[in-house]
């Protein structure tokens, strides 16, 4: 009888010890979990506070070097580019008539400095036009901080001049990167823009008044978070995400301009990449 009581008491004591140990474990877990919750809350609060700090305009560094490389892309690189997709080809403007300047077909660009898709399209446009002539006055900037694809590194055409024997170029940047009015679209350019782009989307680029693109012809996602150095490095690598979208776009634009210049200059217009892209032209 006494032996049985001792055994029961020992079992009871063991049970109490186990319960005490479990309670202690539970207390530790509650403390750890509370700390984890507090850490998450603090992390979110700090993240919100930092994101709300006023930020200076992001430094657009590396733009000059990138521009220099963009204007002198090797022909071999563009010839090794993937073929453009049909969606990259400019649309034919029904009722469009020849747009010229000084007897040369004119490329008219309408965009804005804040506009992220203009920011991306300028890379392809500069790359293509540089095969026909020389830019001056192109400055580096970024798209707006408070829009989609914020602070996309790019260049502004605000003070740009373009010299070429075979094609003319005019750019109108309607707003700055703060979305304030910058340059005015007027006269023949305004009439064209309103006639063929009544919804007013930008970037809108007409090639010789007979063809046009509305919006970026490059993949916006490829530019996400990239610097000037990364973008130009991507363009120089046909296998990169940027290379797969920008170099075909350059060839497509080049082919469209060649169609306006009657295949001048010949070395550009008969290059492998341009000839391959020309099959997509809307005749």
């Amino acid at each position: 009888m006494a032996k049985s009581n001792r055994a029961e008491t020992a079992a009871r004591a063991a049970q109490l010890r186990a319960e005490a140990a479990r309670k202690e474990r539970q207390r530790t877990q509650v403390i750890a979990a509370s700390v984890a919750v507090v850490v998450v809350v603090i992390a979110v609060i700090v993240g919100i506070a930092i994101s709300n700090r006023p930020q200076a305009t992001p430094a657009a560094t590396g733009g000059a070097a990138a521009l220099q490389k963009l204007e002198t892309l090797p022909a071999s690189l563009l010839d090794s580019a993937p073929a453009p997709s049909p969606s990259q080809a400019p649309a034919k403007l029904n009722g469009g008539t020849a747009l010229t300047q000084d007897g040369k077909p004119k490329v008219l660009y309408v965009g804005a400095e804040y506009c992220p898709f203009c920011a991306m399209e300028r890379w392809a446009l500069i790359g293509a036009l540089s095969r026909f002539g020389t830019f001056t006055g192109v400055t580096e900037t970024t798209s707006a901080s408070d829009d989609v694809h914020p602070n996309t590194p790019t260049f502004s055409f605000k003070d740009a001049k373009f010299a070429s024997d075979v094609v003319a170029f005019e750019a109108v940047e309607t707003q700055d990167r703060e979305k304030k009015p910058l340059q005015t679209l007027e006269g023949e350019n305004l009439a064209l823009f309103q006639k063929f782009n009544p919804q007013g989307g930008i970037p809108w680029i007409t090639y010789g008044g007979t063809h046009a693109t509305n919006g970026a012809t490059v993949d916006a996602n490829a530019f996400e978070g990239k610097t000037y150095d990364q973008i130009i490095a991507g363009i120089s690598d046909p296998k990169s995400d940027i290379g797969k979208t920008v170099t075909p776009a350059i060839n497509m634009i080049t082919a469209q301009i060649c169609a306006q210049t009657k295949n001048q200059p010949a070395n550009v217009c008969t290059s492998q990449g341009v000839v391959a892209a020309s099959v997509l032209l809307k005749r």
Binding site: Q29, I48, S51
Partner: protein, 178 residues
């Protein structure tokens, strides 16, 4: 907090709940997690519908810091090619299944770890999307924020609910304790 007398419980030495034994849960655990799961499922279903209808009827202001369409149509609205709204829908559907009263009563020991891991993955995804809103899109989507808050609350409730659950007891006694 818990309604169980923990003296009755036992767990194997290796921590595995014995066959037929269930942990006694706090009374609030199942109803709270089911409620949060249903709310999350409804909001995610709405966001998924809006995603596939190009935000045609998205009820949210635009043009300011709060701009749902800007968020839901951004490059960050998909994750590895899958719409995040759809991922949210799947997340809450699975969470709801894991948090049904019958699931809380199941004896499998691994279920608690799986459930906590699942809601922790959900919380990690929510924090990633909050980061994208604050630092990449620069806009907040109120519907998405509702999903993020529900996910955070679910994580807290599951975390503390599992910690405060009593030890495993035989199924019949567990039922009595409930």
């Amino acid at each position: 907090m818990t309604r169980v007398s923990s003296l009755r419980g036992h767990v194997d030495a290796d921590g595995v709940t014995p066959t037929g034994a269930v942990r006694v849960r706090p009374a609030w655990l199942a109803p709270v997690t089911v409620t949060l799961g249903v709310l999350g499922l409804l909001v995610s279903a709405y966001l998924t519908f809006e995603h596939f209808t190009a935000n045609a009827t998205l009820a949210c202001s635009i043009g300011g810091v709060v701009d749902c369409a800007k968020v839901t149509s951004s490059a960050w609205s998909t994750f590895m090619g899958v719409p995040v709204a759809l991922l949210g829908l799947v997340f809450f559907a699975v969470t709801l299944a894991l948090c049904l009263p019958s699931a809380w009563r199941r004896p499998e020991g691994w279920l608690d770890a799986a459930r906590l891991a699942w809601v922790t993955i959900g919380l990690g995804m929510a924090l990633y999307l909050v980061w994208a809103e604050l630092y990449r899109i620069h806009a907040i989507c109120l519907w998405c924020t509702a999903v993020h808050v529900l996910t955070f609350l679910l994580w807290i409730v599951v975390l503390f609910g599992q910690i405060l659950s009593g030890p495993a007891v035989e199924a019949t006694r567990g039922a009595e304790a409930e």
